[in-house]
Each structure stands twice: as structure tokens, then as C-alpha cells.
């Protein structure tokens, strides 16, 4: 009997997988999830921004753009100019570094080429934290110079808009560095040789051959950095720049001005999504590909003696700048809380914070919360991210372009906006939350992480699937394997490294997520990042930094594993 039933079941399943509507069976849950947790919340926020007691009006938008109170316009303007300057500074640093590292051989290049990616290991909050410890008004470096020259006050300090831009540059130049380095590595030397043979001089080659070849990657990085800068929240928060879009949303919310927060969110979303669409469009049409495989670029060795010394000094300074943020975190993580006040560096040290991390229930709690919530979110991400990637890479269906944009939208949306949207949608029972109020429960944070990090697994899996030749699947089918068997035995193992790289990344990002968490956490499920923030304000620097070091260790571990898994192609996932 049961055998018969199995046969029936298999028939049913086989019939389903063979049907041309099967693809819709596969993608409808993805659409549903995106509808429920991306579109619907977004729509609710929009509703909140236009609905008043008298009905729908654009009063809030008039107020936003009106000249009676310019705070909002100022915020928009500040956000944009911070972003533009961040793009410029990141481009200068990132591309220069890429050229130096890929084109020249100099003492210290090897170590620098490893450390140059250190900023990627810094979670936003922890990064800003260490910068304030280092270069802030009571930071180590300014105080050191104050003491050195016996000054009345610190000679310089990182604060305000400049502080935000410096932090942006430090944390985001890697986007330019990675793409530019990849592009330079991919540059066929024979192109330059061809240009030389045709009589071009060095400058002409750069202007006419190298730069045009790099343009696509530079434009893509610029759009990316602009988008992330617009969404940046932690740096303005810590450096006290209130007049940025993200800060305005946060302030409007905490002041109870919910309509305005919704309006600001909607406007910021529109900016971000426009940039996303611009980016997708640009990526779609860029087509500079090298025709030949050939040998890689040769690095020019520095010959003159003074250039060698100069480069050694440069490497040394580079290493110091790159390592300092982590070193200072490690240093302070051993300091006794509350003892470090006006001294240059902490005076007394202890191992207690690290012991507390895992033994003290109150300190351990946020770590455990974040681990749990991130695991839940990541499990959902794997399921939907992999399915969406498979559907988009391998299947043909109506609405494909739409799904492609839709699934990347959460990636473009600032965390602040994601949080505001979720609040708007799930403060009341809805169908999508199974008639529960999610705000204030355990589930709202995993949901936020799920939405924010879905694109990570989606992208790394798509990248892996795109490299996989479709005929391999056809071969399995021709050998008698059905769809599911093929997916299990051929597709999954071949895409495994991509899926895992994305999964690990989503996991650590979930553990460190701050921007959305700060708006929607409840005290019973306080996540790690919020705990760091609170410890910071309670002057428990030691504990805050120990948390930070823990996060960094996790991230470095993940980056290392991904690098190994994908043969150094992990950049695709980030």
C-alpha cells in the first residue's frame, strides 16, 4: 500500500516539476515573502506619510521641502554632500592603493596587501567606536600630541562632518580597492603593449587605454559607495551630525513625530532605490571584457634607493593606520571600566571582560540573543536566497526583471528605513505576521535581519550558479535524473561554496547589525550591537571593546573561510 502511495506521490511531484508552471510554484513563495516583508511595510510607511485624519494629503512632503523649516532640506543636502565627498575620497584612496599594490613591487607590499582589507573586518559601530577612541576629542592620538607639546587643549580631533567622511573613507575605500584591483589584474598587458607598439606614450596609454578599461568598475563602485553613505547612520550618530537623513528619521521617531519619520523614510527610500536601479542598469550595459587569458600584469620593481625608502615609510604608515583601530580596541578591551579618564591610554588592565563575556549571564545574554536571532534569519535567507537565485539564473518566467530588482531592494534600503517600515507594518496584527503584533517580540529583529541580508545569499549563490554551465544540469537530466535529484546532487554541490560564503556573511552581519536594531529592539532581546552602544554610553569601554573584538574575530574567521572556499572570489559576495 505504502509503496503504491509513494508511487502516487512521486507521480504527482514529477508531474509538477515537468509542468511549465512549475517555475511559478517555485517563485510564488519568494514573491510572497518579498511582498509581505518588503513591499507591504514600505507601502505602510508611505500610507503613514500621506494619511492624516482628514484623508490623504501631501502635507508632510510640502513640509519636508518647504522653506519654513529647513532642517529636512538641510539634512538631505548634508547627506548628499557627505556621500559625494565620500565617493571622491574613497575613489582616490582605493584606486591609488590598487595601482600601487598591483603595479609595483616594493618592500612591505605583501603585508600591506593583506592588511589593506582590514576595514572590511570592522563592523560599522565598532569601527566608529575605535575611531572615536583613537582620534576623537578625548582620543589617544590627540591627547598624545597634547602631552607631547604640552598644550592646553588637544591640537586636533575628529568630529562633525569631517569625522563622518574620514570614517567613511576608511571603511569604504575597500569597495573601490577591490573592484579596481580586480580590473587592473584583469587588464591584458598586451593591450598596453599594443598601444606602445602603435607609438603611444605612457600618459596617453593611461588616459586612452587604462582609464577607459577601469571606468565600468569605478562607476559601479561610486554608485555603491554613494548608496552606502546615504544609508550611513552610525558615523553621524557617533560624531553628532544630526542633520543627515538617517539621523532625522531617528530623531523624528524618538520625538514621536511618526508622520514625519515616515515621510523622511519614503524620500530616502526613493533616493536609494533610484540608485539601485541606476546601478543595475549600468551593470547590465558594461561590457569591457578581456579577450585573452594570457599572462598577468608584471609588477614594476622600484629601483632607485630613495624610492625604496619612501615606499618603506609609506608601507609602515599604512600598516599603522590600518592596524590601529583594531589594536586600540584590543587594548581597551583589557582596560578596567571607569578607570580611563584623562590619561593618554588606560592605566589599569584586566582579563575580566573576556571572562565575563562567556560567564556573566548579563554580559553573555546579548551575545546569545544575537546568535539566536541571526541564525533564525540566516536559515530563512538560505531557503529563499538560494531559491530566488536558482529561479533568476536558470529559469524563464514573466516578471523576472521585476523580481531581480525587488530582491535587491532591501540591500539598497538603509537599515533605518527597513526598521521604520517594519514598525509601520507590524505594530498591528496583519495576515503576514499571522495576526500577531511583532513589534516588541523576539521575531521582529530576525525579520529585519532576514530582509536586510537576503541579498547577500542571493548574490553569492547567483554568482556561483552563473559560473556553472547549464549543460551540466542537462547532462544529469539526460542520464535519467529528475529535477530534484539534479538539484540535490549537481546544482547544490557545485554552488555550495557560493551559498556557504553568503551564509557566513549574512550570519556575521546579523550578529553585528546595529542600524535597524537600535530602532526596534526590545529590552528582552537586546542584540550585541545595542549592548555595545549602551556600554559605551555607560562608560564601560572595556566591555564594549571586548564585544567588539569578539565580533571582529568572528568576521575575520568568516572572511578567511570564504576566501578559502571561493578561491579568493569572495569579493563577489560583498
Amino acid at each position: 500500500m505504502s509503496g503504491n502511495q509513494d508511487a502516487m506521490k512521486e507521480n504527482w511531484w514529477n508531474r509538477l516539476t515537468r509542468s511549465k508552471y512549475f517555475v511559478y510554484v517555485l517563485i510564488s513563495p519568494i514573491f510572497l515573502v518579498l511582498l509581505a516583508y518588503v513591499i507591504y511595510p514600505f507601502y505602510q510607511t508611505f500610507l503613514q506619510s500621506v494619511m492624516t485624519e482628514e484623508g490623504a494629503t501631501f502635507e508632510n512632503y510640502q513640509r519636508f521641502f518647504g522653506l519654513t523649516s529647513t532642517a529636512n532640506l538641510e539634512a538631505l543636502w548634508t547627506s548628499i554632500y557627505i556621500s559625494v565627498i565620500s565617493v571622491i575620497t574613497c575613489a582616490i584612496v582605493g584606486v591609488t592603493m590598487a595601482f600601487l599594490m598591483e603595479r609595483y613591487e616594493f618592500p612591505g607590499r605583501k603585508i600591506l596587501s593583506v592588511l589593506i582589507l582590514v576595514p572590511m573586518a570592522l563592523p560599522p559601530l565598532v569601527g566608529v567606536l575605535s575611531f572615536t577612541f583613537l582620534y576623537g576629542e578625548s582620543g589617544i592620538i590627540p591627547r598624545f600630541f597634547q602631552a607631547l607639546f604640552n598644550l592646553d587643549s588637544v591640537p586636533f580631533a575628529l568630529k562633525g562632518v569631517v569625522g563622518v567622511i574620514v570614517v567613511h573613507t576608511f571603511t569604504m575605500y575597500t569597495y573601490f580597492y577591490l573592484t579596481a584591483a580586480a580590473a587592473i589584474k584583469g587588464l591584458d598587458p598586451s593591450l598596453e603593449e599594443a598601444a606602445t607598439s602603435l607609438g603611444s606614450g605612457r600618459i596617453r596609454i593611461w588616459l586612452k587605454v587604462i582609464l577607459p578599461m577601469l571606468t565600468p568598475s569605478l562607476v559601479a563602485s561610486s554608485l555603491l559607495v554613494f548608496m552606502i553613505s546615504m544609508a550611513s547612520y552610525t558615523a553621524p550618530l557617533m560624531f553628532g551630525v544630526d542633520r543627515t537623513m538617517t539621523m532625522q528619521i531617528y530623531l523624528s521617531r524618538t520625538n514621536g513625530n511618526l508622520d514625519m519619520a515616515a515621510t523622511q523614510s519614503t524620500i530616502l527610500s526613493i533616493v536609494s532605490i533610484s540608485f539601485l536601479i541606476l546601478m543595475r542598469w549600468y551593470q547590465g550595459r558594461r561590457n569591457f571584457q578581456n579577450q585573452s587569458k594570457g599572462i598577468g600584469v608584471h609588477r614594476t620593481e622600484l629601483r632607485s634607493q630613495w624610492a625604496k625608502y619612501l615606499s618603506m615609510a609609506f608601507s609602515f604608515i599604512g600598516v599603522i593606520i590600518l592596524m590601529l583601530p583594531i589594536l586600540v580596541l584590543v587594548l581597551i578591551s583589557f582596560s578596567v571600566d571607569g578607570e580611563w579618564t584623562v590619561q593618554i591610554i588606560p592605566t589599569s588592565y584586566t582579563l575580566q571582560h573576556y571572562i565575563d563575556l562567556f560567564t556573566d549571564e548579563r554580559t553573555w545574554r546579548p551575545i546569545w540573543n544575537s546568535l539566536q536571532m541571526s541564525f533564525v534569519a540566516t536559515a530563512g535567507n538560505i531557503l529563499f536566497g538560494v531559491a530566488a537565485a536558482y529561479a533568476l539564473v536558470r529559469m524563464k518566467f514573466k516578471g523576472k526583471v521585476f523580481l531581480d530588482i525587488l530582491i535587491m531592494v532591501p540591500w539598497a534600503l538603509p537599515g533605518t528605513v527597513v526598521a521604520v517600515n517594519l514598525i509601520a507594518a507590524f505594530s498591528e496584527p496583519t495576515v503576514f505576521s499571522f495576526n500577531q503584533v511583532l513589534i516588541g517580540t523576539f521575531w521582529i529583529l530576525p525579520l529585519a535581519y532576514f530582509v536586510r541580508h537576503l541579498p547577500l545569499i542571493f548574490r553569492s549563490t547567483s554568482a556561483a550558479l552563473m559560473q556553472m554551465d547549464e549543460s551540466v544540469e542537462e547532462a544529469a537530466r539526460s542520464l535519467g535524473a529528475n529535477w530534484w535529484y539534479t538539484f540535490r546532487r549537481v546544482v547544490m554541490p557545485m554552488a555550495f561554496s557560493g551559498i556557504l560564503a553568503g551564509t557566513l556573511l549574512a550570519l556575521v552581519q546579523g550578529i553585528g547589525e546595529f542600524v535597524a536594531s537600535i530602532l526596534i529592539y526590545s529590552t528582552s532581546t537586546m542584540p550585541l550591537s545595542v549592548a555595545i552602544f549602551q556600554k559605551m554610553y555607560a562608560f564601560q569601554f572595556g566591555t564594549a571593546c571586548a564585544y567588539g573584538v569578539l565580533q571582529i574575530v568572528l568576521i575575520i574567521l568568516v572572511l578567511f573561510i570564504s576566501q578559502k572556499l571561493t578561491d579568493g572570489k569572495a569579493g563577489a559576495a560583498i
Partner: protein
Amino acid sequence: MKNVRLETVSKMFGSAVGVENVDIDVKPGEFFTFLGPSGCGKTTTLRMIAGFYFPTKGKIYFDNRDVTTLQPNKRNIGMVFQNYALFPHMTVFENIAFGLEVRKMSKAVIKEKVERAQKLVHLEKYGARKINELSGGQQQRVALARALVIEPDILLLDEPLSNLDAKLREETRVEIKRLQVELGVTTIYVTHDQTEAMTMSDRIMVMKEGVVQQIGTPQEIYNKPTNHFVASFIGESNVLDGEVVEIIENSVKVKLEDHIFVRGSIDQTANGKKLEIGEKIKCSIRPEAVFEGPGVNELRGTVQLVEFTGVSINYVVKVGSNIMKVMIINKGNRILNRGDSITLHVPENGIYLIGE
């Protein structure tokens, strides 16, 4: 060993025609080749037989079973892909065993069959190797073993030799043919290489722009091309414009350009076409059907180009305003120079009339 039959099979891609009205009947055990330039629809037709595409119109039968819309995994076919499509995350053994595992055979049987298949393609010692540790030729043989080990009813080969270098291609060609003859499996082979098609096939289907041009044995295709395309695609041919001026019993007199006349036989007409006086036709004359010296259908011309290949001396000769390629077997003849005049003759059976 199954018969494969396509009945008026057409495939549209949107509004573009992939293939149009293909009618073929591949006999059990036959080696059947789809030949044509790229984009002619040969791979599309193969993929419909494999089940990766379903025809827009028409039916496909294996023996007398309608398989038109059957899923590929239910067809019991063995397919070798142009890029081999081996599973990179599996060893040679695992690759070959894949189809047997799908068929839920016991471990012992699988082991025995895979080892036999490895032996068949001379890869006995390579079972534990990863795919990326193999050369192109070895990968090709794994792909072949993987397709054959499941004892397919039909073997489908999609340009399997196109990624190999010239020498290996020739070796593998012989190897595939040997296996096919030994196993007697019905084989459909897709290629754009006429040498492969001519040397391996029992029958060839020539395609162009989705339309079947001719189906026949290699000899038929070569000696009796049905149209200009087939004549010039398979081997080399001089296709000359002409006009029928006289028919006496079996003998046809054709006027070429510049009042040059040749006489051919009415039996040498494509598709048994009836000829009429005054009709415009084309004459296909193979370079090797032209001989040096006086004789029937004597032609006088000037040598335009000389090529010495060792086996033969190839001339391009201008006869009136007709340009002809001529291949003379090298028997130590004197080699003419550019500008020399030359006398040629073409036996009646060397002229093939292919209509317009």
C-alpha cells in the same frame, strides 16, 4: 537500439524559426549525422530528440512510442555535450556512475559496469581522478563512457570533437566509430565538420537555416547533391551557371558562359528532374572530376593560381569568364605556371546538373 522518427517537426523561438518541417527516420543501429553551418538548426533538432526543447509542431517517436513531450530523464538517452558537461565536483568514477545511481542499481553492479566502461574508453586507471586533472581528450572519453554506461537506446553526440586539437580529433573520431559499431547503438551526431560527417556516418542530413537540404548516404550527398548549397558545402565544387540547349536521348548539352558548351548525362540530374530546352540550370563539377589534356568536354583556359599540396596539384583556371578549380593527382606531371594555357576535359559523369 531504437528507431527514431521525426514527423514534420518544427521549432519556433518566439517568432524566429529554429527548424522547419524536419522528417527523418533513423534506423536502429544507424549512425545518423546532422550536418550544417552554425545556426542551421542541427543542435535544436538534437535537443528536441533529447527532450531539452519540445517541438512547436510535429511528433517525435522512439520506435513507435510518442516521446514528443516526454521529459529528458525518461527517455533513456545517452548524450555527449560539446563542452562535455562533466560534474566537476565528482571523480571520473562518480561521473560515470551517476546515471547508474539514478537507476538505483546495486553498488556491486555499478562498480562492475563503471569499470567495464572505463576499460572501453581506456581510462582504467583514472577512476579516482578529479575532472580538472584530466586532459581534454580524457574528459571527452569520460563523457562518452558516462553516456554509454547506462546502455542508452539512443546515443546523442553534440559536436563532441570540436574542443579537441586536430590530431586528437582524428583519433577520437575513429574511437567513437569503433564503439558505435561494437555496441550497435542508434547514434545521432551533430557536426559542422564535413570530414567527420563523411567518414563516420551511415546517413547524413544536411541542414541550412532550419530547413533540411538533403538526406542521404555520404556518397549520395557528395556525388549527387540536390542543390547548390549542398554541392558547395560538402567538399569543393565548381558550380557554374548554364542553359540547356539540346537534349538527345540521354545526353544533355549545356551552354556555359562565353559560349562554352559541355555535354552531360540526363541520369546525372538532381532529384531526377525533367530538363527542358532553354532552361537555366547549374552544373556542379568537382575539381577532381576535371582532367588535364584533351578529351570529351574539352575546355581551354589560363592558369590563374597554382598550389602544390604533395598529393595533388591544384589549379584555378579561367575558362572564358568561368573560374574553375581543378585538382590533378600528382603523378610527376609537369607543374604549370601562372599564365600558362591549359587544356582540360570533363567526362560526362563528372557533370552533375542541379537545377536552379
